[in-house]
């Protein structure tokens, strides 16, 4: 499940960065990097989730690469914002390289690495990441990831003036899911009710990520020429691949909850 989430996040990054960096005419050759690396992450995720033909060390190398490139990408995007006239301001936050976006690659890598750790052990309930029980660590991590994605969607939907009321959804549903997941990360052991509330919000968030593609497709239709002019409007309209990153993170959080249940038991 975690490998799958990694693959899904990798796919989302691949499609999104392909469209956005194409829009930026691959002005800097470094802009090809996330395409290659997210494809590698996706491959690692698919491999991990299915046959595991690759040796674990190789898969982990791929995930680690993803984690590192994501972090470097955040650096590059920050540099891109700061060097523009006006520096750090709303205009550049809206239209320069999105600072938070590459972090999704790091998330995908980290989730993948955790997945392999868990698969390796026969006692996942005793496994620790950075000295923290893995279920708690992953819950906290995915909650943070969800909130990062919420800020990204919030910024972009603010740029779109929340012109459609449904644009409020990704800034209202996922924060609740993230808060409940964070609560699962920090609450004392012994919760054994299966956290149905947290799970429901995460499933809702996951479904919203898929529905988001539909909403964004509708957004594309409202641009001049609509879908008949897809070659321009898919590039300039609301990004079709962006919303499923919510689904990927929600699924990872659900997996983390399962580990939390083991730890509680």
């Amino acid at each position: 499940m975690l490998h799958g989430a990694s693959a899904m996040l990798g796919a989302s990054v691949l499609a999104d960065s392909a469209v956005e960096h194409y829009r930026g005419s691959f002005d800097n050759p470094g802009m090809y990097t996330p395409l290659v690396v997210s494809a590698v992450t996706m491959a690692a995720g698919i491999d991990g989730a299915s046959g595991q033909w690759l040796p674990r060390r190789m898969r982990d190398g791929m995930y680690a690469l993803s984690g590192a490139v994501g972090a470097i990408g955040v650096g590059f995007h920050t540099y891109n914002v700061l060097r523009r006239p006006g520096g750090l301001n709303w205009l550049n936050a809206f239209y320069a390289a999105p600072i938070g976006a590459p972090a999704a690659l790091s998330l995908a890598g980290a989730i993948g690495l955790a997945a392999d750790e868990i698969a390796e052990t026969s006692h996942p309930d005793r496994l620790k990441l950075f000295g923290i029980p893995v279920g708690r660590a992953l819950s906290a991590f995915t909650a943070l990831g969800l909130m990062g994605t919420v800020s990204e969607a919030g910024l972009m939907h603010f740029r779109g003036s929340f012109q459609n009321p449904f644009m409020w959804l990704p800034v209202s549903l996922p924060p609740i899911a993230a808060a409940l997941t964070a609560k699962a990360a920090i609450e004392p052991a012994g919760e054994r009710d299966g956290r149905p509330m947290t799970r429901s919000w995460l499933w809702l968030t996951s479904a919203m990520g898929i529905a988001g593609v539909g909403f964004h497709a509708f957004g594309v239709s409202r641009a001049m020429g609509g879908w008949r002019n897809w070659s321009q409007n898919v590039v300039d309209g609301p990004p079709l691949p962006a919303p499923p990153s919510f689904s990927a993170l929600a699924i990872a959080a659900l997996a983390a909850l399962r580990l939390r249940d083991l730890e509680d038991a």
Binding site: G86, W90, L91, F94, Y95, R159, G160, S161, Q163, R222
Partner: protein, 553 residues
């Protein structure tokens, strides 16, 4: 493409027989309530631009019966507007006029419009508010004249206009009283705008993305702007929130009738001269008279005084509403000298709306000036034909030099200010007694000269913009001269002896005769006037409603 009347057909109207063109659908129609000439409507409005169409929409929404006349066509942007600079000159008012004075204003270009929507159909969409002090510039800044309204009275109508037009602007506007974000977010700033930003950052002055009346996200049936760059020649996507797309559409929906291809020649008055009774207009080859309880003149700063002067009767020998002698006087424009430079980098200034970044530094800074008044200036984006004409006529390039100049088109960039001009009685719109237009109406003569103060402001702006271009790394600087906007020929005031109308736009002489357009401006300020014209129209509509309620119409 269209089976209806061609927009180029000079006589056949589109808006009649119970329907008007649907501006959002090629060949489409919307139902329109129509009135007989003999039916006395509440309001006859002359001109369907920023003033008239706005007022028509709001009055109709308040339940008044309204007929709004426009001398030009009722456009359908999606089918009528082409990416062709020359063909799109059909949007201008090209009827015969005479221009004179020491600094004659170029007419029949971007400072006029003929057709529903008026000049907002081809305006650059810059939607700035007045600096609050300008409404009382005599009392607060020591020059010009006080308006009979305050910024505080107009501010709610600025808000209303900005919401109605979904103005796309900065989250936090750097000048003026603090207020919230614009209704829509700013557009991505194009390369010339970023050069302005770069220069401003280096010189330590504030700049921002220009608040524009073109949407950055979908709004109703308007798609977001596609940055085609033909804004000065009619927006063919309807992203531009012109009076045609916003107010005329709202007016018709609310029950107003808009009569296109209808040139009003006279405001009719009662025998005793005390009341306006309707308008005499030319449509489909004949003169007709529409009866009305109130007449509003919204023809902009040349046609509005011209109509009032052309409506003279023995009771009003100097023209209607003209006991002050101010009809046609105090004409102002806004100075717009351009400073241009060539850059190494690729700029491609034809992309996107023409004025994407602005600095109002010299509107809000009073120190360091050797003149009264202010100016804003913006990055520019002239299209190729317009630029070629500028190089040939202003820079004097021809032949091989012109070719070389045009080869630098994608590497050129410049600034043009919107400079405040002193309102002076000697700058006028008058009638030419022995020359007549195609309708047999006396043509107007526009007389304009800059004052010494105006010239000092121009030189200050040229010098400062030159420093900015230097700071940004531009070379081979040169300048030209131009103007934009026409204002002030029926100014509002508190004193019937020195103004044509009161704060509501109601004439002092004839209580059911009103003016609602840029001619109301007592001073011009250093910003583009369209937003203020619309704010005044929105206020006027509310005032009319409350006057009607009190039985004071």
């Amino acid at each position: 493409m269209s089976t209806s009347a061609s927009p180029h057909d000079p006589v056949t109207p589109r808006a009649k027989d119970g329907r008007a063109p649907d501006v959002f659908v090629p060949d489409g129609w919307v139902p329109m309530r129509c009135h007989a000439d003999t039916e006395e409507v509440d309001f006859a409005i002359v001109g369907a631009g920023a003033g008239g169409a706005t007022l028509a929409a709001r009055l109709a929404e308040k339940g008044f019966s309204v007929v709004c006349f426009d001398a030009g066509p009722y456009w359908r942007p999606l089918e009528d507007f082409a990416s062709d600079e020359l063909a799109q000159e059909m949007l201008y008012w090209t009827d015969p006029r005479i221009t004179g004075g020491a600094d004659p204003i170029a007419l029949a270009g971007n400072n006029c419009g003929k057709g529903v929507g008026g000049s907002t159909v081809h305006f650059s969409m810059v939607s700035l508010r007045f600096r609050p002090e300008w409404f009382k510039s005599r009392s607060k800044l020591g020059y010009g004249y006080d308006w009979p309204v305050t910024y505080e009275e107009i501010a709610p109508y600025y808000d209303q206009a900005e919401r109605a037009l979904s103005i796309s602007g900065p989250v936090k506007y750097p000048w003026g009283p603090p207020r919230g974000p614009y209704p829509y977010r700013p557009h991505e700033v194009n390369a010339p705008g970023l050069i302005l930003g770069r220069a401003a950052d280096r010189m330590g002055i504030k700049w921002c993305s220009t608040p524009l009346a073109t949407v950055s996200a979908p709004h109703g049936k308007s798609p977001p702007c596609v940055y085609r760059g033909y804004c000065h020649y009619g927006c063919s996507t309807n992203a531009k929130q012109s009076a045609l797309v916003v107010w005329a559409a709202r007016a018709v929906k609310a029950g107003a009738e808009i009569r296109d291809m209808a040139m009003v020649g006279q405001v009719e008055t009662s025998a005793d001269g005390a009341r306006a009774t309707g308008v005499r207009y030319h449509r489909e080859g004949e003169w007709r008279v529409q009866k009305a309880r109130n007449v509003v003149v919204s023809g902009y700063a040349i046609e509005t005084p011209r109509l009032l002067l052309n409506s003279a009767t023995p009771k009003h020998p100097n023209g209607l509403a003209n006991s002050s002698g101010c009809v046609g006087a105090y004409l102002t424009t806004q100075s717009g000298p351009g400073v241009w430079a060539t850059f190494e980098e690729d700029i491609r200034w034809s992309k996107g709306p023409p004025n994407m970044a602005v600095t109002e530094h010299w509107n809000y800074t009073d120190e360091g000036k050797d003149f009264h008044g202010g100016y804003a200036f913006m990055s520019q984006g002239p299209l190729a034909r317009e630029w070629g004409q500028n190089l040939a006529t202003s820079r004097g390039l021809w032949g091989e030099d012109l070719q070389r100049g045009m080869a630098d088109y994608n590497h050129t960039m410049g600034f043009v200010p919107v400079g405040e001009v002193e309102p002076r009685a000697c700058n006028t719109v008058t009638l030419v007694d022995d020359e007549f237009d195609q309708y047999g109406l006396k043509i107007p003569k526009v007389t304009f000269s800059y004052s010494d103060n105006d010239k000092r402001l121009i030189e200050h702006s040229v010098k400062f913009m030159g420093h900015m271009l230097d700071a940004a790394g531009g070379r081979d600087q040169w300048r030209n001269d131009d103007t934009s906007h026409l204002l002030g020929t029926c100014r509002m005031g508190d004193d019937p002896r020195t103004s044509v109308v009161n704060a509501d736009g109601r004439s002092w002489d004839i209580p059911n005769l009103w003016v609602c357009d840029g001619s109301l401006f007592a001073t011009t300020g250093g910003v583009n006037p369209s937003l203020t014209i619309q704010a005044l129209a929105l206020r006027c509509a509310d005032r009319i409603e409350s006057l009607a309620r009190r039985g004071e119409l």
